[in-house]
Assembly symmetry: C3
Homo-oligomer: 252 residues x 3
């Protein structure tokens, strides 16, 4: 580490000299960074975090976190996971080993990624989301508070089958995906739904058990009834790179 | 700070000299108190807490917590919020910026107030409650475990519309309020309900989606079938000031 | 404490000299162990934990944790609870006072045992499970993510009535047990169910509100349709002692 980096590390933090920190990485009070860790430039890790927790369930590879990460306090991230640049976490999150996630992952407070799963770019989750092992999540997906992705059809068992969530899908608050269901591109799952069937691209699933009866495009903005709410990429662009948004808009 | 106060601060805690602590404020081990904080007399903050987290999303005002607060371990509270006296939190809670809360707020473990919301006096929540932005909560409200107040009718969007919860309302375990619904005074929402419609004063809402078919006053205590369970203020007074309870009872 | 033990205690941890630690007990960074604590041999407590939190709601007895415990980071356990050997917790859990739990308790991350309850041997819970006061849980029970056991039939009230969960029962993800219900031996409660009625031994309850229409033994493994999924003890044995499993298999 350079002298400059050391100034950004709180004196109460404990950072393994084997950990590889990029330039301008801040480490907050009472945080512990283990050996097997690589963190990209300009990242900020708040206090009380445990970064790179060793585990025999990993593959020996380091925890790799891309540049410009913001990791909020009391978070726990295991070794053997790879997370792209611009990670943002809330407080009290946990990301287990063997998670592969792309650019711009946002994981809300109390979120829990159980590892052994793959996540595309720009997954954004609100508070309390739980992503079980074997989940497969594509790009630009949204998950709202308390969403749950399960994986065991007949628990307890050894046959874990994660859900598959395609790009641009929206999982509304407190909905549950049962093992192995597929949520199609741009589909919307209503709040508090229990989804045991596949949801086709652009469709709307609601209820418990969820049924698929309408296209998501029937929904309108509440404050502007002339505007279709979905596909959302036509109208909501906050936080996405301009180039990506331009690509989305060129489709319409 | 006086010498006396310093004795109540654990030697491992870090307290900004700019923070304004009242008399007899205890600070637990490994807790960090930021600059922009005012804490009332006789308050106890346990260990591993982060108090007054700076954020550009606030208004520059300090975090103000009234007297006699009890903040349990691993809790996180942002600046630019104002919380009345006798705050009690469980463990691992988070209160974001721009929260205005009255007297006697009790927030159970893992609770999450997302900020930009207003809360009256004596809100009591159990474990795992999540209060979204723009929520408006009146006095003497109860929320039981895993209750969720949402705010986005067509997520993701920029048009957040919080639910409105009137005084004495009871939200039972795991129920979800959809954006903008109004729960009337003394109304009761059953466990695991999904509420997409307004619930009139004193009414009972149950189901998924919730329907309103009965008055809450039809419910009886299980161990004393001659006693109506609601309005609860007639029979349950633990922890409320005598004067307030006397006012409640004078109505009957 | 012996010199050897001291080497296993992280220099940043704070351990009361009154706490009774067994042999080979590891204590992680920034953890605090209070006075009224007994921890069995070969236990590992990770960082940022608070062990033996004092409370006037206990009975003055110590927190007793059996040998070979693994307590993950940011966990909080109160005094006046007794937990058998081979406890395993996830991160950010809370176990309150007056909890009695047997051998091999596994409590997933963000789990919350509210105390004043009794738990048999080998309870295994996944992430986010909440066990209310007065719950009675027998041996070899499973609870999957976000399961909730409630206890107040007419909240708020003083008449807490916990659910009773018999041996080998399986509570699937996000299900809620209402106060006082009894889940029979080997019964299965489906995901996202709201259970307000008793479920007989070996039966399957599903829905919201849950109905009991079938035996759990109608369910088959998804990848091996010739094999009945329940009773699970016939086919799933990971982590249970051989002697116990031999007893289970002798029944078939």
């Amino acid at each position: 580490m350079t002298e400059y980096d050391k100034k950004l590390i709180h004196p109460s933090a404990i950072v393994s000299p084997k950990a590889k920190l990029g330039l301008n990485v801040e480490i907050g009070p009472f945080t512990f960074v283990h050996d097997n860790v690589e963190i990209g430039d300009n990242s900020r890790i708040a206090g009380w975090c445990e970064i790179g927790v060793p585990t025999p369930l990993g593959n020996g590879e380091p925890l790799v976190i891309g540049a410009n990460a913001t990791i909020r306090s009391h978070s726990v991230i295991y070794e053997s996971s790879t997370i792209g640049p611009r990670l943002v976490t809330g407080h009290h999150v946990c990301i287990r080993e063997m998670t592969k996630a792309g650019i711009g992952l946002q994981l809300g407070s109390n979120g829990d990624i159980q590892g052994h799963c793959s996540i595309g770019d720009y997954l954004r989750t609100h508070r309390g989301v739980h992503i079980g092992q074997k989940s497969q999540i594509a790009d630009y997906v949204w998950m709202f508070p308390d969403v749950l992705l399960t994986n065991d059809p007949t628990p307890p068992s050894e046959e874990l089958i994660g859900p598959v969530v395609e790009s641009f899908a929206v999982l509304c608050a407190k909905c549950t995906l049962l093992p192995g269901v597929r949520i199609g591109e741009g589909a919307v799952v209503g709040a508090h739904s229990l989804v045991g069937i596949n949801v086709g691209p652009g469709m709307l699933a609601t209820g418990s058990p969820a049924k698929v009866e309408y296209k998501a495009s029937i929904l309108r903005l509440r404050n502007d009834f002339s505007t279709k709410a979905y596909p959302w990429k036509k109208r909501f662009h906050r936080g996405y790179p301009e180039k990506i948004v331009a690509g989305w808009l060129s489709e319409f």
